[in-house]
């Protein structure tokens, strides 16, 4: 029986899930804006961060969120390295396709190494607050979901501030908008693009840690994440961060609501349905600007 409380609870859970999706999709959008690259390894890095958080927490007994202190700089460095040493080596003419293959290869390597080191066993962090929930106007909301939403929200605000208020953010946006013009006003676009990639991958560190709080993780889990994330950035319009955020929230809510009637597996197909319909009806996405037209 579906009651009003249940609907309300689903709505809240949908918003919380959508917030996490928004953060993860923001990273994907950032790469696309900078290099027109669909970064397939993004979700693999998310799972890698989740594994690091799990390992850290089981080894030290500390809260998994403390692992962010070193995963964020580590992922930032890896992102910078991937852009400078792998992506920028590719020929511009075949960049779109070859970069997909490179990032696909990275995803396979990460999945394979995680499987080698930690085996395929499903892992979950045991948190003291793992099973507790908060009563919110009659809806029971798990604490872990609230924490991961807050983490995602804070990182999105930080990302927004970096992009809008700092000198580096202005340089990055200029690089995204028009590379040659950015070079003309003296921006080192190569370095900026590398740092932008680092920023994108740093969001994967936060997202992965947030995910590790609430989900059971296994090496091939990243395929379950990359599909929805790609759907979100297409629905939102490739390259548009606000578009991705809106699409993430909407699709997150719809997905959780659908679970009232459908099994989670069938509810998951909503992302692919949305992707397909968007490309049929409005291939540039619903909130995409100039960038999305041609890609």
């Amino acid at each position: 029986m579906i009651t009003g409380t249940l609907l309300f609870q689903s709505l809240i859970l949908g918003v919380l899930l959508g917030g996490l999706y928004a953060l993860l999709a923001a990273g994907l959008t950032l790469y696309f804006g900078i290099m027109r690259v669909v970064m397939l390894a993004h979700a693999a890095f998310i799972i890698l961060a989740a594994y690091i958080a799990w390992r850290f927490s089981t080894a030290t007994g500390l809260d998994p969120m403390i692992s962010l202190v070193f995963t964020i700089p580590l992922f930032f460095g890896i992102g910078f390295a991937i852009q400078r040493w792998l992506i920028s080596r590719l020929k511009p003419a075949t960049m779109t396709m070859m970069s997909v293959l490179i990032t696909f290869a990275i995803a396979l390597i990460i999945e394979g190494l995680l499987g080698q080191v930690f085996t395929g066993t499903q892992r979950r962090i045991n948190l003291p607050y793992g099973a507790s929930s908060v009563d919110f106007f009659g809806a029971a909301i798990p604490v872990v979901q609230i924490i991961s939403f807050v983490l995602a929200g804070l990182s999105l605000i930080a990302l927004y501030l970096v992009l809008k208020k700092t000198r580096f953010g202005r340089a990055l946006r200029a690089t995204i908008q028009h590379r040659e013009a950015a070079q003309l006003v003296g921006i080192d676009t190569n370095r900026t693009a590398g740092l932008g990639f680092g920023l994108g991958l740093a969001t994967a560190a936060v997202g992965g840690t947030a995910l590790s709080l609430q989900a059971t993780i296994f090496p091939s889990l990243h395929w379950h994440w990359i599909g929805p994330l790609m759907a979100i950035i297409v629905v939102g319009g490739l390259g548009s961060v606000p578009g991705a955020a809106i699409a993430a929230l909407l699709l997150g809510i719809i997905r959780v609501m659908l679970e009232l009637w459908w099994t989670p597996t069938w509810a998951q197909t909503i992302f692919y349905l949305a992707l397909f319909l968007t490309l049929m009806v409005r291939p540039q996405g619903f909130f995409g600007g100039r960038l999305a037209q041609r890609f």
Binding site: I109, Q116, W266, L275, L279, P283
Partner: protein
């Protein structure tokens, strides 16, 4: 066997010689080459030491068909699909379900299911190809992921994770005979796929597709309906992959959604085609033999570990970074070093071209017009 477009970019004397022979040997050459290659491959059952090696041969031929079929889309248009395993899985399940529920003849069932897959591919390709590259990649991967979900969940029809057992088409055959029969069936399919590739390669349709690969805007402005052509290539490509899936279902006789729709198989297909060289008729076949044998060897020696993911990833990364045009291109370039006049248009960057043109325009410079005209070819 080089792609026909590369032949055309040869310098004038070679071109006219080739043009003179178009009616006779030049058109037959790839057909003869296919016949020779197929005849050589057909020797395998008689030299294979045991039934296991024979079955490994079937697997490798299956890869070869997948990679060559993939190359009808990937090689001509440059659109790299990571979703062809979806057509493989659909073809295998379609064939299996038809044979189980209607008792149809196995060959007919395979063709019917492959045609159905081709029909399904039309709206998918339409959505995927409406915008350039990135969305195509996203849709093809998403297709595999969503089909995995559907075929696992919809267990009433597909048997779910429990698997779907397909009755064997030749029930009274012993195992080695069964492998041998399917070896020849896959070989015939490979021959047909290679023939179709070479026919497209030499057609106007193929020339337009290559235009898409080299510069889609220019191809469009020359009047090629690129959207429609890409879609046709995609559907043909999916059809052959689906036929291979159908034969695989009949041969292997046990289908599991996680195995039939595993995305790693997609990456193997791409790796094989790229490693061999997508511009060559036999490139994907060569890649399939190399990668396929390596995979079979690994499974035999080390069992099924996570390491094959790492190895595939590393190899794919290395090929993309250092050998994006495949080994055959590398070999051809090595040969061409000793034949300075035979240069392909792609080996000259826009920068070189500009420099050469400037040299040509300057009157006091020694003439390099021969090279420059070759480059415009």
């Amino acid at each position: 066997m080089r792609s026909a477009s590369d032949e055309r970019t040869r310098p004038a004397p070679a071109l006219s010689a080739a043009a003179g022979g178009v009616g006779g040997t030049s058109r037959l050459r790839p057909v003869i080459a296919i016949a020779v290659v197929v005849a050589v491959l057909a020797l395998w059952p008689s030299v294979a030491p045991n039934a296991y090696m024979l079955s490994a041969g079937v697997v490798v031929l299956n890869y070869a068909v997948l990679a060559t079929g993939w190359n009808i889309m990937g090689g001509f248009t440059g659109y790299i699909s990571l979703g062809h395993v979806a057509f493989f899985g659909l073809g295998s399940y379609g064939t299996g379900l038809l044979v189980i529920h209607t008792g149809m003849n196995w060959l007919l069932a395979t063709l019917v299911s492959a045609l159905a897959v081709a029909v399904i591919t039309v709206p998918i390709g339409f959505a995927a190809l409406r915008v350039r590259g990135s969305s195509f990649v996203i849709v093809t991967i998403a297709l595999v992921l969503v089909l995995q979900l559907i075929f696992q969940s919809w267990s009433v029809v597909t048997g779910g994770s429990g698997g779907l057992v397909v009755p064997r088409p030749f029930p009274d055959m012993l195992r080695p005979e069964h492998h041998e029969t399917f070896f020849y069936i896959f070989l015939a399919l490979l021959a047909v796929t290679l023939l179709v590739w070479t026919v497209i390669d030499r057609s106007r349709f193929g020339a337009s597709l290559k235009g898409v690969r080299e510069d889609e805007d220019k191809a469009e402005s020359l009047g090629a309906p690129t959207g429609k052509l890409k879609l046709i290539a995609f559907v043909i490509s999916a059809f052959f992959v689906a036929v291979a899936g159908g034969f695989y279902a009949l041969w292997f006789a046990d289908l599991d959604p996680l195995f039939q729709f595993r995305i790693i198989l997609s990456s193997w297909i791409v790796l094989m085609a790229l490693l061999g060289g997508v511009r060559y008729l036999f490139g994907p076949l060569l890649g399939a033999i190399v990668v396929g044998s390596a995979l079979e060897y690994f499974v035999l020696e080390h069992g099924d570990t996570q390491f094959h993911l790492v190895a595939t990833g590393l190899l794919l990364g290395l090929v993309v970074l250092f050998l994006p045009d495949g080994v055959l291109t590398g070999v051809a370039q090595l040969f061409r070093r000793f034949r300075p006049e035979a240069t392909s248009i792609r080996e000259v960057s826009a920068e070189d071209l500009r420099r050469q043109q400037e040299e040509q325009e300057a009157p006091q410079q020694p003439t390099t017009s021969k090279e420059a005209s070759d480059d415009r070819g």
